[in-house]
């Protein structure tokens, strides 16, 4: 969740209009704004020298600049900052030239209102970020680096290596949907990326988050390919997303957007083609809407088009907790391998969403003392052990851990560095980095999230002797039970919870043992070993299928 205010530089010589913008932005709660106002271009340059801004609201007629130069002079000074031109409706030509020159948007002063102003700023900032990040994403870079390291070790055929570095299919759509306030139409970016089509249909969740971009979705799709191959599931990897904060939307808006997304990508999804599932910001209700939209379009119900559906619509038993359960199965195997008695162990869990909360519960059920948990609002630490039931009750009522009375409140960074036996990362990417890895103090690092550890940090973890359960192994419980749900849907035959969990346990423990054996045989870390296991399978499939045409 975006917590910090957006930093706005308002460059406007008209004092009445300056006050108007300041007042309109002051009234915005989400996002909130930190506004610096100046009345001339030279003062804007001084402000830009002192701090970075997310966006500049720029009047073109200023006392110390020619109108046709103002934008270009500012752009030259702040090439990576979003600029929104403010213009009177007699000056649209001037403004449109600035937009041609790279301004993200223009606002007509005479028609300014809070909603339009805030939306314009949001879009400008998002477009600026997306422009620089669509492929040049840190997450995608990490996914490619990890792959290349494994590809080098196995001496992967160069042709195959080049082929696997980028997704086979990536589709971007501008999705328009109506907000509840009549007359307002919002347009956001949606993505569906399919990394490898040779393994079978593609499989991967849909993420609604304000940080989504093409690079991130491509990275996640790539990790899905490895995950499915490692688990020996008959899928290639896919992922989708919409760059939006779902908490900004009402339920009806969420439904409209979801249906719009489904229709936009309907030609490339389907039970035999690409099967979406929930991810960050989406849930079984969103899957139900996708299934309904797809089914209405083809004229009959197609339960196998998505997984993670409500149970009554063909969702699998055990799906909701599957990722956390799979993570726990891996932690049990890792503890056994290291000779650790879980009843004597402590754990810290970063993240208290679906994966984190279930992981914390399963750790507790296995006798582990959970001493810390966190979410976006805070981290809670209690060396005597936290009561998971109590935590969940608090979050059910208050939505976040903030204000929980059963422990000391610390920062997320402090949680990561707590001495413990098991550190479970179940939040976002890039949590363990070269900056903090030396202070990580655990025996087992279990990756419930995707990409939480950087490659540089990986090397240090290995040197420190910390046993890493890499993401493509440890958080594959979700996709494995998704596979079960898809199979049940295709056969129209539902399994019991016990059957699901038994099969999940068999697949997870088999993948763990193969990965451990490979790591010992190759003399490499668990992440690289897992990737090599996965790569081997994908490589075989690609070479056997050949290249057509």
């Amino acid at each position: 969740m975006e917590m910090r205010p957006l930093r706005v530089l308002l460059v406007e010589d008209n004092p009445v209009y300056r006050r108007l913008i300041e007042k309109l932005l002051a009234g915005s709660q989400y996002p909130s704004f930190d506004v610096t106002s100046v009345d001339r271009l030279s003062a804007a340059f001084d402000s830009l020298d002192r701090q970075a801004f997310d966006v500049v609201l720029l009047d073109l007629l200023l006392p110390d600049s020619e109108p046709h130069e103002t934008f270009f002079r500012l752009r030259g000074r702040a090439p990576d900052t979003a600029i929104v031109i403010q213009t009177g409706f007699d000056d649209v030509t001037l403004a449109s030239k600035a937009v041609e020159g790279g301004a993200q948007d223009y606002l007509i002063k005479d028609r300014i209102g809070r909603v339009g102003l805030v939306r314009s700023i949001r879009y400008a900032v998002e477009r600026m970020r997306a422009r620089s990040a669509e492929w040049a994403s840190g997450m995608f870079h990490l996914a490619q680096q990890q792959f290349l390291k494994a590809a080098y070790i196995v001496e992967l055929d160069d042709n195959v290596r080049q082929r696997l570095l980028f997704p086979e299919r990536a589709q971007v759509a501008a999705l328009s949907f109506r907000r509840d306030q009549h007359g307002q139409v919002e347009t956001v970016f949606g993505y569906r990326v399919q990394h490898v089509l040779a393994m079978g249909p593609t499989k991967g969740g849909i993420r609604y988050h304000q940080g989504v971009d093409l690079g991130e979705v491509a990275a996640l799709a790539m990790w899905m390919t490895w995950k499915c191959a490692l688990m020996r599931l008959p899928f290639g990897g896919a992922k989708g997303g919409i760059r939006i904060n779902p908490l900004d939307l009402s339920r009806t808006e969420l439904q409209r957007l979801t249906r719009r997304y489904t229709l936009s990508f309907i030609d490339i999804i389907g039970p035999d083609m690409d099967i979406p599932a929930p991810d960050m910001g989406t849930n079984e209700q969103v899957m139900a809407w996708i299934m309904d939209t797809y089914s209405r379009r083809v004229g009959y119900t197609v339960p196998a088009v998505v997984t993670g559906k409500p149970v009554v619509l063909g969702g699998s038993q055990g799906r909701t907790e599957a990722t956390g359960r799979g993570l726990m199965y891996c932690i049990v195997e890792a503890a056994r391998h290291l000779g650790l008695d879980l009843r004597q162990c402590t754990a810290a869990v970063q993240g208290f969403g679906n994966v984190g909360a279930h992981t914390a519960r399963f750790l507790e059920e296995n006798g582990v003392k959970v001493i810390a948990v966190s979410d976006v609002s805070t981290a809670v630490h209690n060396p005597g052990g936290l009561d998971i039931d109590d935590l969940e009750a608090h979050v059910a009522k208050r939505r976040f851990l903030e204000g929980y009375p059963g422990g000391e409140h610390i920062t997320n960074s402090e949680l990561l560095e707590l001495p413990c036996d098991i550190l479970a990362l179940a939040a976002l990417q890039n949590q363990v980095t070269i900056d903090n890895v030396q202070r990580i103090n655990c025996k087992i690092l279990a990756e419930g999230a995707n990409g939480p550890t950087t490659l540089e940090a990986d090397e240090v973890l290995s040197e420190k002797g910390i046993f890493v359960l890499p993401d493509i192994l440890a958080n594959a419980g979700g996709v494995t039970v998704s596979y079960f749900e898809w199979v049940q849907g295709m056969q129209n035959f539902m399994w019991t919870l016990e059957e699901v969990n038994t099969r999940l346990h068999a697949i997870m423990t088999d993948a763990f043992r193969r990965t451990l054996t490979r790591a010992e045989r190759e003399g490499t870390d668990m992440r690289t070993a897992a990737l090599i296991e996965a790569l081997d399978r994908v490589r075989q499939a690609e070479l056997l299928r050949g290249l057509f045409p």
Binding site: Y17, K23, L61, P63, E66
Partner: protein
């Protein structure tokens, strides 16, 4: 006939009277300086400054839907844009008259119409 339309201005701000009153107070405090800038530009025959200062004043009065004052400011803005000072003195006199009326009526409105209860 009023020089401004309070209800239209209020509608532009989704009914937020507190903001509108605040903007009116800012305008009343700045109107003299803004008009002076236009006058100086006419006196010095500084075309770019005439365009900018008249444009700025136009924007300010438009917030209150003060059409006559806005039209007078726009006329001067156009003269500045075209670097044409013919008739600029007459246009300036018209602007000063309209802005003066606007300030008096806006000031009376703020004094006589109490702010809404918070």
């Amino acid at each position: 006939m009023s020089t401004f339309e309070w209800h239209k201005a209020l509608a532009d701000l989704d009914g937020d009277e507190e903001i509108l009153r605040d903007l009116a107070e800012v305008f009343l405090a700045e109107a003299d300086a803004m008009t002076d800038a236009v006058r100086n530009a006419v006196e010095w025959q500084h075309a770019a400054e005439l365009r900018r200062s008249a444009h700025s004043l136009k924007g300010a009065v438009r917030v209150f839907h003060a059409d006559a004052a806005a039209a007078a400011a726009f006329h001067l803005e156009t003269l500045g844009r075209d670097a044409n000072f013919q008739g600029a003195d007459r246009a300036l006199a018209k602007l000063e008259e309209e802005v003066g009326r606007l300030c008096r009526e806006l000031g009376n409105h703020l004094q006589n119409e109490p702010p809404p209860a918070s």
